[in-house]
């Protein structure tokens, strides 16, 4: 299966990446995708995602391999930002092309749950009173646990 896993340190266009992904998989019956953005919540001016070179991208590649082994896919794309982002900026794009709809959906759902709670990123927000470190939400942990067997 074609895997496209990237850790990006600059802004990107999910629409463009998704268009190229669709073109690369003309024979798949369906493409499921998810785009996550910096939520323009209240007081947050900047979100910083910190990665660690020796773990973050290798971890994303391990995740992609696991997704590959769990579902029947034609292609899988995982693009994730690192660095400083403004509210509204895209953080992550996951897309799966598959013959069957359910495989594509579950692959994207699983990859997102994993990325949101178990991937090697550290996060802080700049508010009017300075920087604050962020821990994963309980909800994200619970989402990821759904897949544990």
């Amino acid at each position: 299966m074609a895997r496209d896993v990237q850790l990006l340190n600059r802004g990107f266009s999910p629409g463009k990446a998704l268009g190229l992904f669709a073109k690369a998989h003309p024979d798949s019956g369906g493409i499921a995708s998810f785009v996550g953005k910096v939520r323009p919540d209240g007081d947050v001016k900047v979100l910083e995602l910190i990665s660690y070179e020796r773990l973050t991208l290798p971890g994303m590649e391990t995740l992609a391999k696991e997704v590959d082994s769990r579902w029947q896919l034609d292609g899988l794309l995982i693009h994730h930002r690192t660095g400083h982002m403004r509210p509204g900026a895209p953080i992550v794009l996951v897309a799966a092309a598959a013959r069957h709809r359910r495989d594509a959906f579950e692959a994207v759902d699983f990859a997102m749950d994993h990325l949101k709670s178990r991937s090697w990123f550290w996060k802080r927000e700049k508010r009017s009173d300075g920087w604050h470190w962020i821990e994963p939400r309980e909800e994200d942990h619970a989402d990821a646990k759904r897949w544990d067997v």
Binding site: Y52, R54, H80, L115, K116, S117, I134
Partner: protein, 80 residues
């Protein structure tokens, strides 16, 4: 003869720097000594993990780093 110790996230705030060279070889006890009280305390917390050259240690007290190794101190991930 040095090991590079990398501080990630809030541990970099605590260390006041992103990385530090310490003398090789480096055991867990040697790391605690090299870090000083506050960082050693943070490093010893259950949720802080340690990776050597990108491999996370199951038990950080088994740390054995040699010259040229990179030891990373990893606070709990906050996810993407």
């Amino acid at each position: 003869m040095a090991v590079t110790v990398v501080f990630i996230g809030k541990l970099a705030d605590l260390a006041g720097e992103g990385e530090r060279e310490v003398t090789a070889p480096l055991s867990w006890g040697g790391l605690e000594d090299a870090l000083g009280a506050d960082l050693a305390e943070a490093a010893s917390q259950d949720r802080t993990k340690i990776a050597v050259n990108g491999a996370v240690l199951a038990d950080k007290t088994t740390l054995q780093a040699k010259d040229g190794d990179e030891v990373a101190l990893l606070p709990p991930v906050s996810g993407g």
